[in-house]
């Protein structure tokens, strides 16, 4: 086991940020820690990294208790913080070299690692640039390069794609998967469910300082009752339509949002053709129509009664 967190409790005054938080991360996993803002993801990461004191619980990394003085453990960890943490006064190369130098003292080895990290995040052409000359996306890439240059066994990424353009986001996500293929265990926190679904081998959903569900995406989606979600644009939405649709077989719920009718079916049941038949038979005019499988947001919604992005 790479990380084992047991019954972790952290309070900020009266607010319970982590409430008997339990987490286990196995070697070679990409664990996604998914939860809305304020759910306790960053607090959990900070406790795991010994940046915060906690009231109760234990944290073991590679079988050893994690503490501020556990320098041998810290040597194995690469951290990419939510906020970009680089020196404005140093160039891209110098920044990566500085952070890599905190772990690797051999100059020649470090030089090749820095070049490798720059290559990995696609910053080869920006080695002599100062951070203020970089775009937001490139800055995020620099932040990642600073965290992974020393080739850590465990990489913790705390919302690394916040305010990043789609091109850089894809670059970052592909990079994380590549690092994992090269042998690193990854913990990835985010409130973007699409990202977590895309790259994580296992997902832990957090809310109010607790893990409320864990598993891979299929396992998580299997936990909920609803299946397919159909959205239809109805030109003349009427209550009669809603009543009729709800009476169709295998329908879990149906509701209007402006002129869009959303219909949720039972798990493993498809209602798209039935719904189209109904609309045609009743000669109800409709426009766009979408059908989508359940998302992690649906999982979160069903478990907590609120949306991930609330």
């Amino acid at each position: 086991m790479v990380i084992s967190v047991k019954n972790l409790t952290k309070r900020y005054g009266d607010l319970v940020a982590l409430d008997h938080f339990n987490l286990e991360v196995g070697e070679g996993e990409i664990l996604g820690l998914l939860g809305p803002n304020g759910s306790g993801k960053t607090t959990a990461i900070n406790c795991i990294l010994s940046l915060l004191k906690y009231e109760k619980g234990s944290i073991d990394i590679y079988g050893k208790p994690m503490a501020p003085e556990a320098y041998d453990l810290k040597r194995k960890i690469g951290i990419i913080m939510q906020n970009v943490a680089v020196f404005e006064e140093l160039t891209v190369y110098e920044n990566i070299d500085y952070f890599c130098g905190l772990y690797i003292s051999d100059k020649n080895k470090r030089r090749s690692l820095v070049i490798e990290a720059m290559d990995f995040v696609g910053l080869n052409d920006y080695g002599k640039f100062y951070p203020k000359k970089l775009s937001g996306g490139l800055l995020r890439r620099l932040n990642i390069a600073c965290g992974i240059a020393h080739k850590p066994d465990l990489i913790i990424l705390d919302e690394p794609t916040v305010a990043v353009d789609p091109q850089s986001r894809n670059n970052i996500l592909e990079g994380i998967q590549r690092l994992n293929r090269e042998g690193a265990t990854v913990i990835y926190t985010s409130h973007y469910m699409e990202e977590v679904e895309q790259i994580c081998t296992r997902i832990a959903i957090m809310d109010k300082g607790k893990i409320i569900a864990t598993g891979n995406k299929e396992e998580l989606k299997a936990m909920i009752n609803s299946g397919e979600k159909i959205t239809v644009e109805i030109y003349n939405p009427e209550n009669r339509i809603l009543t009729d649709v709800k009476n169709l077989p295998h329908i879990v719920s149906a509701f209007f949002h402006d002129s869009f009718l959303t219909v949720k079916s039972e798990r493993d049941k498809n209602n798209l053709m039935v719904l189209i038949d109904y609309l045609k038979t009743r000669q109800i005019a409709f426009g766009k129509i979408y059908s989508e499988p359940p998302t992690l947001n649906d999982v979160f919604l069903e478990i907590t009664g609120k949306e991930l992005r609330d």
Partner: protein
Amino acid sequence: MQVYKVYFKIIKSNIIQLMIYVFVFLFLAVILSSTYSDPIKTDFTSAKVNIAFINEDEDSILLNNLKDYLESHVNFIALPHNEKSLQDALFFRQIEYIVRIPKGFTKSFLKSEKVSVNITKVPESTSGIYMDTLINKYLNTARIYIESENDMTEKELIENMNTDLSESAEIVMLNSAVENDTYEKCAYYYNYLSYSLFAILILGVSAVMMVFHNKDLKKRNNCSPLKLKCMNFQMILGNFSFTMVTWILMIASSFILYGSFMFTSKGLLFIMNSFVFTLPALSISYLIGNLIKSKNAMSAVSNVVSLGTCFISGVFVPQAHLGDTVLKLASFTPTYWYVKTNNAIADSIILNTDTLMPLFYNMLIMVGFAVAVLVVTLVIIKQKRGLA
């Protein structure tokens, strides 16, 4: 030594601001110290007093010789012999002394009778005392000869008196005027150095500390295997190196300005004192750097601390002109002890154990300041690094 290397890269990025301070200091130090002159201390020069000499007696050899004797020490001002004119001249300091020889003075004096010269002078003036001394000296010498040699002619009396009165003592000043002037200027330069050194150290050290205290960078460094002791060591080493470079730069300019004087024992004491002063200045800068959080605060604190301590400690206004309360308050700053030592070095004539001990005592106090502030700073750093 990653932290140490980054330290100087941050200094390099702030070099323009720091160099402005260095150049402004050098410019002002050169201008101010070259125009500085101490109004109190000067070399010995004899001065001539303006007097009125009114002889109501006959033109005797004794009185004419007195006039000749006085001529080398006074300026005779010709004035009407009426009382009002003389009083006016005295009041407006046209003259400072009136000698009035009464009728029959010479005859009575030669007969050893009791006579006196009428004197009018500016009350409690040094020139009055000086003139009294000159006239007494002349008449007392004459009286000694008259009373001891009864058959001496007036001519012989004058010859003997002139021989005696021409004797003069040679005055040798232990410090020449030029040397004194240079030491005073040097002391002024070194006193003024405390302001710039303080300001530059606060700016430089704070600039680096602020970067390392950036919340995200601090968090990032705390996640690394870099030990707190190692980080503090590199930081202190960086601070010390930066301080030494700044100090050497400022000391070097004093060698250019005062040349060989800097190789004298006093010059070396100035250098030693300034070196000792850099220690508390660095400690205080390190403390400030650990407390302030913004660039604006950095400039403000730098100016308030450096200027404030210099004002109350006698850098810009001599300590002798400052009130007791101000000096008492200033004694809680290392600048006060630094300035006090500089002034003592400049004023000392002979350097021996007795004169050097108080200087070393002052330096020891500055070292005490440095150690105390450094300890407080390290405690603060440890507390800040402590977990939330």
